[in-house]
Symmetry: C2
Subunit: 191 residues, 2 copies
DNA sequence: CCAATTTTTGACCTGTAGTTCAAAAACATT
DNA sequence: AATGTTTTTGAACTACAGGTCAAAAATTGG
């Protein structure tokens, strides 16, 4: 009962995510969010409480979608190295093909809010850990299947790969496709 | 002639740099800058024109200081690998020992303003290129001195190292010293 | 159709960002 | 000490950020 919502909360969160992604947290105003979602400011506040709470949901969504994509890429047929390379190339190409170079929402948040905003930082930390876990699992599987050196310290390698991904997405703000692809090859030479 | 300034512009730029570094560009208000520098808002505008122009000077200073430090670290006695490792460890430890995790001003700027603000992005790009050049030169020297494989593609390796540094400084927002040092070791295993 | 409930709308409010400016202050020169 | 020059000070101003609220609108149940 009651008047029905004329928007889908999930799609509003997704639209908000896009906006925060493009403009940053501080750079996104309630008016921006209203315009991006097509929902009135008042309604947004009624539904989500505050800009910050909406951002939290957006960041959660980003983490879920990112995890799904990572999982999907890593688990397609191929060796661990091939799949990790494909994943990195995908990320870089995605960054570069977007009209505005927005990088990684989690990394952006870490750099914009990190240190001051403990909750946001913790959330980014969890997203990061999740990615590291996926890399770890994929490398272990590679060891079982024989395409990854059994002596490799997979935990250390996974953290290294995570760091690599973060670095690539920073570099994507200033560098071109060829340079980035070259970095990927260099980074994976040891695998 | 005329009333003398009661502040050193260079010092003010340095203080502004620290503030932007800690709080980000959008997160730093003119009032913050006045407090950090001890100079009245009006005087700041009189001397620097706008928040944006002051930020430009701060970013330039950051680039110069960063380049000097990189040069100093890379050129102390030791092999290329040893010196690059020492430099990375230094950066990470510096990030971690600061009371507030502020990362790298250039990377922060790239992520906060990158894509929208072309001039800031270009400036970050130049700082990045400078670092890459220093890595390249140090690796070449290593080749001459016999501690770096002569077959190594030093340009590609230098870009890779730059990306690594960027990644490490993002990771420094959420991870601990041990993990970061581990990443450095993994990253340098191929050298 | 009335009551109860929930959402929307749009006006409104407080605080601060970013900037400007007029007047006073501090110097050098004559 | 009067003049010209440059800087400081502090108030003032516009715009917008972030958020609140009262009233209207849209629904369901009785």
């Amino acid at each position: 009962m009651g008047r029905p919502k004329n928007f889908e909360p999930d799609v509003v969160v997704a639209q908000a995510m896009e906006t925060f992604w493009s403009k940053g947290y501080a750079g996104t105003s309630p008016a921006d969010l209203a315009e991006a979602t097509g929902v009135g400011k008042g309604s947004l506040y009624h539904a989500f409480g505050s800009k910050r709470e909406l951002f939290d949901k957006a960041l959660d969504l980003y983490g879920r979608v990112g995890t799904e994509m990572t999982e999907a890429y890593l688990n397609e047929p191929g060796t661990a190295k091939e799949r990790i390379r494909a994943y990195m190339v995908f990320l870089v190409d995605m960054d570069l093909s977007a009209p505005v170079r927005r990088g990684c929402l989690a990394a952006n948040t870490a750099l914009e809010l990190g240190g001051r905003d403990t909750e946001a930082t913790a959330k980014v930390g969890r997203i990061t850990e999740q990615s590291i876990r996926l890399f770890t699992e994929r490398l272990r599987r590679g060891q079982r299947e024989g395409d990854v050196d059994p002596a490799l310290d997979v935990e250390a390698q996974a953290k290294y790969l995570m760091s690599m991904v973060a670095g690539l997405r920073v570099m994507a703000k200033t560098h071109e496709r060829d340079a980035l692809h070259g970095i990927i090859e260099t980074a994976l030479a040891g695998l």
